[in-house]
């Protein structure tokens, strides 16, 4: 049986044989596209996926060969690209909040919870929006993409201790913003 080469080996080979980088796309593009889609919707994500891998290809010399998987590195490039799409991202998040509130309300029809959900989810969206960029990015990579602390650290190019403290700060911020009266501290962009 032949073991398939690791991402690091493939990227190493692509320095001399650029075509080899196509395999990195085949392995990870579907995952990365879903990530972009969750953040900015299908249309923008479809426009970004090729761009993201083009940037990765052009920066492949800087890939840290001690990392086995290229996925966190690709998430990091994606996170940077998403910075240019903050408005679209905020729009999608607010729409998601409305949908979550509506489905929660349908689940618990005529209960007190329904009213809570209608108020709560838009506030969660606003609170996420109000987080500083690095905290929001760390939180969403952790909560939506299920990345480990180590992977978030690789994606954001931060020491793992910093990721841990950013995530804790994000949690504290959210908790604070969701307290009664907390919405006053949510600054709308």
């Amino acid at each position: 049986m032949v073991n398939s080469p690791s991402d690091a080996q493939v990227i190493g080979r692509s320095l001399d044989e650029p075509e080899a980088f196509g395999l990195i796309y085949d392995r990870h593009a579907a995952t990365v596209l879903r990530f972009l889609g969750r953040r900015v919707g299908a249309e923008v994500a479809e426009g970004l996926i090729g761009e993201l891998f083009r940037i990765a290809f052009e920066r492949r010399k800087t890939f840290d060969a001690s990392r086995v998987s290229a996925l966190p590195w690709l998430y990091g490039i994606g996170s940077n690209l998403l910075m240019k799409h903050r408005r679209g991202e905020a729009r999608r998040l607010r729409a998601s909040a409305r949908m979550a509130a509506a489905s929660e309300a349908a689940d618990r029809r005529a209960s007190a919870g329904a009213l809570d959900a209608r108020l709560l989810f838009p506030r969660v969206a606003d609170a996420i929006e109000a987080l500083p960029d690095v905290e929001r990015e760390a939180l969403l990579l952790f909560a939506w993409e299920d990345l480990s602390y180590q992977s978030v650290a690789e994606a954001l190019e931060l020491p793992i201790g910093t990721v841990r403290s950013r995530l804790n700060r994000a949690r504290a911020h959210l908790r604070e913003l969701l307290e009664p009266g907390g919405e006053k501290r949510v600054k709308r962009r």
């Binding site: 196509g22 593009a29 879903r34 889609g37 969750r38 090729g50 929660e104 969660v124 996420i128």
Partner: protein
């Protein structure tokens, strides 16, 4: 509920077109090819303005078989396409924004100030493709015997740019 769990409730999947991944791969492979053998661009590139670039690119591909150069697309932060390039055979044409560089789409200006000739190999198939895609045929396909014998037709695209498609016929041997 914990803050992270609340954030998780707002996670929502997007619905992608089936070809989304293929298009992205084409962008990457074009960048790879460019590194392997830098593309030679024609010396002259006509620039055509459109009010709706996205629709124009889609139509030019579907009706005339022009392929967008995947790495050429310029997109603003709002997702609006500002410019791109399409290629066909050895030719490249810029697809730009109405009004930029003072270029005016016929749809806006009401005049055609130029037309573009495109030389192709199988004009019957091309004509059928353009018809099927809903291109407006401005001059029906017919043979011309002045100068070198050729068959040609003219079509207008979505915004009224005029395209002349020409197939040169083989010289009859005496």
């Amino acid at each position: 509920m914990k803050p992270v769990d609340l954030a998780r409730k707002l996670r929502r999947e997007a619905a992608f077109e089936p070809a989304a991944l293929d298009r992205g791969k084409a962008v990457l492979m074009a960048a790879i090819r460019q590194e392997v053998e830098p593309r030679r661009r024609p010396t002259i590139v006509p620039q055509l303005p459109y009010q709706d670039i996205r629709a124009a690119l889609e139509f030019l591909e579907r009706a005339f078989g022009f392929h967008e150069i995947p790495t050429a697309r310029l997109v603003s932060a709002e997702g609006v396409i500002g410019h791109s390039l399409v290629e066909f055979g050895g030719g490249v044409i810029g697809i730009g924004t109405q009004g930029a560089h003072r270029a005016v789409s016929p749809m806006r200006g009401g005049v055609e100030s130029q037309y573009i000739s495109v030389y192709i190999d199988d004009i019957d198939a091309h004509y059928q493709r353009a018809l099927a895609a809903g291109a407006q045929i401005a001059t029906a396909l017919r043979e011309h015997v002045s100068g070198r014998t050729h068959r040609a037709y003219e079509a207008l695209d979505l915004e009224g740019h005029r395209w002349r498609f020409v197939q040169l016929m083989r010289e009859v041997q005496h």
